[in-house]
Symmetry: C2
Subunit: 320 residues, 2 copies
């Protein structure tokens, strides 16, 4: 398996948040980590025993940030598939006293389309509960008077309806999927090379994500391609940017030290949240790979088989 890329670490200068012993790991149910065993295969008592050390880490948690792709569902043809137990887990979380916010780097679909898809899979979720990079980018574009050339998927174009794209003075790149053609990449490159001060805004910098059909290149590799071609550095809007996590926390009125992030991306979700002072659990679903548990730079506060197990833990321990 490929070794982690040295540049996937963190921006220097942010203090490490205070935390308890990190890296509590629950026993894995099976080697096929991305395919969790059905819920209910372990007794409640056995589960409780295994979780004891991790449970202590969850003291004082008031809010939960949930990644979507790879935690709630795997995207793919026909709308993707819900990850076993996740529909119920979200419902249980939302019935609890915990504040819940969905924090995604999804940039191929508008929030409306994403939420519609998730609701069809049975999730209790609404557009107003989602923090996503496209709206955050639009705010930045407006604040700075930037007129983007958009290298994006048609599915997310509606988020930019109110943005002036004439005579572009920057490039916005998102997970464009099939629209990452040579011609489209070259057009974005040429716009950047014509600018005196080229600005490249990237909606996330994920390396890849998991679709039902397999691993798929995310926006990050294409961001790196344009960075190298133009000799510039992109501004990332989305996880693991601290501003992005903070805006999600603000939306539910929870402080970083009172929050836990649950995601499948060891760097973007777990590392990013920890750098903001949050606790973070990695699920063994979605793009999780066994080597993530030995990542040289990031150690999750805990590793759980799936969202259902994370919610079991939270609901057992947060009110104690």
């Amino acid at each position: 398996m490929p070794r982690p890329h040295p540049s996937s670490g963190f921006a220097p200068g942010l203090p490490a948040p205070p935390r308890l012993a990190r890296g509590t790991t629950l026993p894995r149910r099976s080697c096929a980590a991305a395919v969790p065993a059905p819920l209910g295969t372990r007794s409640r008592e056995a589960l409780s025993d295994a979780m004891a050390p991790l449970g202590e880490l969850l003291a004082g948690v008031r809010g939960v940030l949930l990644d979507i792709s790879g935690v709630l569902y795997d995207s793919g043809a026909g709308g993707g598939t819900a990850i076993a137990g996740s529909v119920e887990a979200v419902a249980r979380l939302k019935r609890s006293r915990l504040k819940v916010r969905f924090c995604t780097n999804e940039s191929q679909k508008s929030r409306a389309e994403l939420v519609g898809q998730l609701r069809r899979l049975g999730f209790d979720i609404s557009e107003g509960e989602v923090t996503a990079p496209a709206p955050a980018a639009c705010q930045i574009l407006k604040e700075r008077g930037l007129r983007p050339h958009l290298l994006i998927h048609d599915g997310v174009r509606s988020e930019f309806d109110q943005i002036d794209t004439s005579n572009p003075n920057c490039v916005v790149i998102a997970d464009a999927g099939e629209s990452f053609s040579y011609q489209n990449m070259n057009s974005a490159f040429q716009v950047l090379m014509e600018l005196e001060n080229p600005v490249l805004i990237s909606l996330g910098k994920g390396r890849y994500y998991k679709e039902t059909s397999g691993l798929m290149l995310d926006v990050g590799p294409y961001m790196k391609a344009l960075e190298y071609a133009c000799g510039i550095q992109a501004e990332v809007v989305g996880k693991p940017s601290p501003e992005f996590f903070k805006s999600a926390l603000q939306a539910i009125g929870v402080e970083a030290h009172q929050a836990v992030m649950i995601g499948d991306d060891i760097v973007g979700d777990v590392g990013g949240a920890q750098r903001c002072g949050m606790r973070a659990l990695q699920v063994r679903t979605g793009k999780f790979r066994p080597s993530d548990e030995h990542h040289p730079e990031v150690k999750a506060d805990g590793y759980v088989d799936n969202l259902a197990e994370a919610v079991d833990l939270l609901l057992q321990h947060v009110d104690k």
Copy 2:
């Protein structure tokens, strides 16, 4: 204009070659650097005066390595166009006592196709005079028992005719042009992610090149994309790899300190050749940009308007 990318520097550990005062710059004829004034606009005497300091740097030169794209011609629709004066310049060089070798990172065409195109433009060049990355890569593949998944342009596929591509255990990436589709990039990514020890071989790592229609993304940005996606580092075959320059020098039996490289790429041609102990001139044609003359890491031994001027210099000074 974009600032140079920090990663476009050199591999550490190679000793800097001994050299004379570097960076002699001839006066620019016009601001439109990539469009040199027609030859013959300056008297022979004026030219001689301007070249005096640079001429000294050429003492002892016995061999010349010539980049092709951006020095001999600009590629593009209909076979591209010869750069003014370059056809005659190559002919004059080949009539002199100097040894000449063409050293290209062209990886979109086979040598046969490239040479055919250049001959149609009037150049005196044969396949056996060209050092190109595809044949060098084939040698490496055979030596190491590697079976590549090929992410290449159809035009260069014939160079790999003798290579076993079944059950791939590495990826070879070249300047694939329009074949850099999302689907093709994703297939290469998936092959690499399935390998225990992923090997990515890149035919050059150029950022971009100039076609008659404008600047075009080269293989380098796509190499960087796969490096980032998989957390690996590519092996580069072609300029600026020292092995590649050395093989070109060996072909003409010239030592590095007796040779000069003439190219339009400040990093790949000029910097790479200098790291091998050669002298190097940058032409103000092809992908040359004015900021190249103030590159923070690489300083050419001299900057000339075009190949014709470089050959004027060489023929005036090398036999003195």
